[in-house]
């Protein structure tokens, strides 16, 4: 296998400084050699959660018709090119309906509970983290948690609860919400290291240095653990776990040294324009999936309760206050522009995923994407009939082109358990799940 040293590819700079995004044709040319060899054997099934905040203008979301004969609604219209790889799910309820905290807090955890004050942070392990534990054996980065908002500043969170509930959808343990990264530069470093280069030599030298740092930090942590009693150790154990994660990643990176990484300059920071920032965040996700650096990504295009205005599409109002539309039809119509805009941006991303070859198909074929919000009507803080959609081929486990209606009011927890099955990591229970949902699988795959 000596020919697999990665020389087969033109090494090109695809990510440049601020706000400059890669061009699609470059990506096609950039299938990493090592990756494609393994991918050909068996394409990996990847998971992406794409969260949209503040509910949905449901009047503009719900498709007409059911089963395979349904019409795309105004919000779903941008999905037309992907109609055969999408399922709209109607009739699923939130498992924990608590103003806005419950919306994002239960989206991937299926939890039915929350804390009672600002320091009691309590939900359940989220689906992406259950997957991450499983895929950690195969990939350098077990999971990526990404967002478009700067880290939590209090002032617009839910009641007296921790801002964690509205600022992340990923929970490593029932008491450990994971921070979501919004800075493309930090994402770059998580994926490609902080040697300032994706070149092999610099990267390997830095990996060795990091390994020695972690080894020695481990010793300090062991000393500290001995000095602390029982419950006092929890934080130190989190620290130790983090060290183990990074050690494992370094080990993986060394094992997979034949994987050629794309040559690219690291992004310098957060682009000031929303769409530039978004494009960069999505391109980095694409690279991560394509290089098989990770198989699990959670992404919030806006934190729950986000007040981002969208003047570029004529919505100068802040999103969250606008979503409290008092059920006034004109305001709902206005807000639906944001919902549609998000969908357009999502569809652009899907187009790139579809254009990226992966094994015998495209990246999109081998992905399960869960799109939606954990609240339906924000003005009533309603958790009934959530706006949910699955996209991607699900590596053969999803039969697209359908609008599925559930009449028995299942909660989102049941959907999560079902998706775990499809992703080949069956679990008994997630949060408050009570069973599974029927979702058709493409026959014969």
């Amino acid at each position: 296998m000596t020919f697999l040293t990665g020389r087969s590819l033109p090494r090109r700079t695809v990510l440049r400084g601020l706000g400059v995004t890669m061009a699609l044709p470059l990506l096609e040319a950039m299938t990493p050699a090592g990756r494609s060899a393994r991918a050909a054997a068996r394409p990996a099934h990847r998971f992406l959660a794409f969260y949209v905040p503040n509910g949905m203008a449901m009047e503009y979301w719900a498709p007409k018709g059911e089963g395979t004969s349904f019409e795309l609604s105004p919000i779903l219209e941008p999905m037309a090119p992907f109609k055969n790889q999408m399922l709209v799910l109607t009739g699923i309820n939130a498992s924990w309906n608590y103003i806005h905290a419950g919306a994002s807090g239960s989206f991937l955890t299926g939890t039915t509970r929350g804390g009672r004050n600002e320091v009691e942070i309590l939900a359940d392990v989220s689906m992406d983290q259950l997957l991450a534990r499983h895929f950690a054996r195969d990939t350098q980065v077990a999971s990526l948690e990404l967002a478009m908002d700067a880290p939590a500043n209090a002032g617009a969170c839910t009641g007296i609860l921790s801002c964690a509930y509205t600022h992340t959808i990923s929970w490593r343990s029932p008491t450990q919400p994971l921070p979501m990264e919004y800075n493309p530069r930090a994402v770059f470093e998580r994926l490609f290291g902080d040697s300032g280069s994706t070149g092999r030599k610099a990267r390997e030298a830095r990996l060795a240095e990091q390994k020695s740092l972690l080894d020695s930090v481990n010793d300090s942590l062991a000393r500290l653990t001995r000095e602390l009693g029982g419950n006092d150790r929890t934080k130190v154990e989190q620290y130790t776990e983090a060290v183990r994660d990074i050690e494992r990643r370094i080990q993986k990176a060394e094992e997979q040294r034949d994987v050629e990484l794309p040559t690219l300059d690291q992004p310098q920071g957060v682009p000031p324009v929303f769409e530039d920032h978004l494009a960069l965040m999505l391109d980095l996700q694409l690279l991560a999936f394509q290089s098989d650096l990770t198989r699990v990504i959670t992404f919030m295009i806006g934190k729950e309760q986000s007040a981002r205005p969208y003047p570029q599409i004529g919505v100068a109002e802040a999103h969250h206050p606008l979503s409290h539309h008092n059920d006034v039809p004109e305001i709902i119509a206005h807000m639906s522009k944001i919902n549609r805009y998000h969908m357009e941006l999502f569809a652009k991303y899907l187009a790139k995923l579809r254009a990226t070859p992966d094994g015998d198909g495209s990246l999109l074929d081998h992905m399960t994407i869960m799109y939606g919000s954990g609240i339906s009507n924000s003005t009533r803080h309603s958790g009934v009939n959530l706006p949910l959609m699955l996209a991607g081929g699900g590596a053969g486990t999803l039969r697209g082109g359908q609008h599925v209606k559930y009449s028995d009011k299942p909660t989102i927890a049941n959907l999560l358990v079902t998706l775990m099955d499809k992703l080949g990591v069956p679990v008994e229970k997630i949060g408050g799940s009570t069973g599974k949902l029927p979702i058709e699988t493409v026959a014969g795959v």
């Binding site: 103003i99 004050n117 600002e118 320091v119 942070i121 939590a152 500043n153 209090a154 002032g155 969170c157 839910t158 009641g159 921790s162 801002c163 490593r172 343990s173 450990q176 994971l178 990264e181 930090a186 902080d194 300032g196 280069s197 030298a205 020695s212 740092l213 930090v217 300090s220 942590l221 000393r223 500290l224 000095e227 602390l228 009693g229 029982g230 419950n231 006092d232 150790r233 929890t234 934080k235 154990e237 989190q238 620290y239 983090a242 994660d245 990074i246 310098q268 957060v270 007040a307 205005p309 003047p311 570029q312 100068a316 109002e317 802040a318 206050p321 409290h324 008092n326 059920d327 006034v328």
Partner: protein, 849 residues
Amino acid sequence: MRRALLLALLLLGWGAATGSIVYTSASQSDLALSHPRTVAPFLEQYCVTCHNQKLKTAGLALDTLDATKPQANAETWERVIGKLRARSMPPPGRPRPDAETYRAVATALETEIDRAWAASPNPGRIAAVHRLNRTEYTNAVRDLFALDFDARPLLPGDETADGSFDNLADALSISTAHLERYMSVARQVSRLAMGLPPASPRLETFEIPIHVIQEDRQSEQLPFGSRGGIAIPYTFSVDGEYLIRVRLQRQYQDYLKGMGWPQQLDVRLDGKLIKRFTVGGNAKGRPAALSYAGDGEPGFAGDPEWEKYMQVTGDAGLEVRVPIQAGSRVVGVSFVRELWEPEGLPHPPQRGRTIANDNTYMGYANVGSVEIGGPYKTGGPKGPPLRDGGAHDTPSRRAILTCRPRSRAEEASCATTILSRVARRAYRRPATSAELKTLLEFFARGRRTGGTFDAGIQLALERVLVDPGFLLRVYRDPSTRAARSGQAPSTGTPRRLSDLEVASRLSFFLWSSIPDERLLDLADRTQLTTPATLEREVRRMLADPRAAGALVDGFAAQWLNLRRLADVVVDPDRYPTYDESLLQAFEQETKMFVADTLRENLSVLDLLDADYTFANERLARHYGIPGVYGSRFRRVMLPNHEQRGGLLAHGSLLATTSYPDRTSPVLRGKFLLNNILGLPTPPPPPGVDTNLAEIKPDAPPPTIRERLAQHRTNPSCASCHSVIDPLGFALEQFDAIGAWRTSDETGKPVDARATTLDGTTLDGMTGLRSRLLEDPEQFPRTVTEKLFAYALGRRLEYFDRPAVRMIVRDAASSRYSWSSLIVGIVKSPAFLTREGRRAEASASAGEPR
């Protein structure tokens, strides 16, 4: 009168306790004499009708509790006291006691609880492990390495909640993402501090938001007679050649603004002119029509050469490459001011990122962004090239390199000197010999791979910054080892914190950073925690400029919602006088105002009722204060005390509690209740329809007060909103951006009268202000509660209430000055002691995996 008597008694009793760590007070028992006479009939008359064993309304049964021994059920009784102090119970429509009775009963209950507490205070148990938050990390790096480096944007966000703080130990977690970022930042910081060149040149962009009006001098660090632009504090890591590139602002059609006439643009380094450019005035050919709306209108665009100049070449080449010596410097970019005022009708900035058309050509050119890149060629600008390709001499290198080896043989001992000193400050205690050995191993490794002494030190510093001893504040139980081996029983007995632990507590409280050498020295000699030394050190620390800075940025900015200003969205159609400079001015005003009260050690009551504020011309105009010119903020006396004066009338508070297009009495009331009155509000109960009545299209628009009327009529809303809404109504004289107004959104005259739950009438801001000052302890109590939680790094519990009351009572004699509250907190048992290890329910710690 009776109130005054109570206060006098308290002062007498507690005055005696000041200056010592004795928590008892004889005079308290006198107060308790009235107890049985007051409390039992009160409860019988007003409370137990609902809160009894049978009904258990809100889970509360008061008939089975012994009101003469409230200390036995302090948690429940503190809830009762809270309701009595706020006069928020009995619910609307039920018979209520008078104000004097409320106070008497609350005081009677408090007195009993406080007496029991004084005999055996429960200091609580802060989590054993307390991670530094982003601010503390940044400040620690500043104090360790004399380095201005904002690590905050590079680190994950710290857990927080509304009305809370981002330094509560229980909430702060450590994830893989954290450690990855810590490792990356440690490398950047240590290389920057040592002046080692980064792996590759980097380019950083500083953008000026489009709605910042650039018609004035923008910063104290830009020259007089300048206009617009930006001053950027920037740390140049090594001596070398750097690029400074300026881009001008474009309007929505991508035309450069203000290109119709020549203007001079200066680039400065530490105030010294590096280069002067002339921009504008060179557009050739026919311009685009003023009404041109973009590509969709063929024939309206300008000639190609005009278009090219206006879109591309007008600001091309505005860059300099200059040799710069390493260190923290200020890059300034600004225009030379001309006595030329743009004409035209005043118009609001347009929504979003657009700017009105006629701003484009004959208006001012503005700076859009400044990029700083480098280093390109490393080495000294003067003199011989450097040995390391690094830096000559910077404050950071001077701070770190306390010795410099003259030969290879001296390196090991010199490295030991340097690293043991850095480690002691970074770990806030002397490094153990094992720790020092580890650091020297990293020194040796860096020395080997990097080839220089400096590279060795750099790697060892990188190791320091990822050590749990730096990143975590750890409280060790002295008995842990013994308890584990079964030699000592697990008890909850409080133990005094060690002097070193107290040194850290002090410095993280007052400076949001690590202790200085002096604190560590005092702690080493175990001299820190004597009452006199503590008080002296607190005053010394408060006099340090770091204190006002940290308490404003860390404490006040969170308490007063200032961090939320960045998220404020304003509808410019409704508020044409709004622009982003105004929001920046709001933040500046409140920060300078609070900092001033801290520096001058004023009473916290002055926060509510000052006769001055800080303003520049922009803000003064907004507030209706005449005679303030220019962009510099200065202290101004308020000529209109009935409209301004105190936090209630600060634009920051008013704007962060409004919607983009209207005021929100609910948000304002909630903010006041939580942060000024110190009462938490629960969110609306699940399932409640929070929609307000629809606005009928053909009827005249209802005022917000009319729309909120249903809060009063619907019982599930009323129990909270009859407390919340009136407070907000009293601020209706201020619009959504804090300007004084006489008519509201619907055009009707403003009605700022409100009736509180207890029947008192509040008339406007001044009415609310006097009401808040009526009980002089009330606001200091809220400030103390907030500050106490911030100081301890844990949420306050019911058993902390007696300490809060003690601190406030003690502070009365100094009229609740900042320092009296702070000294009170520092001397409290919760600050100096920690509850011992409790017996644990289960042996297995941590989470299920």
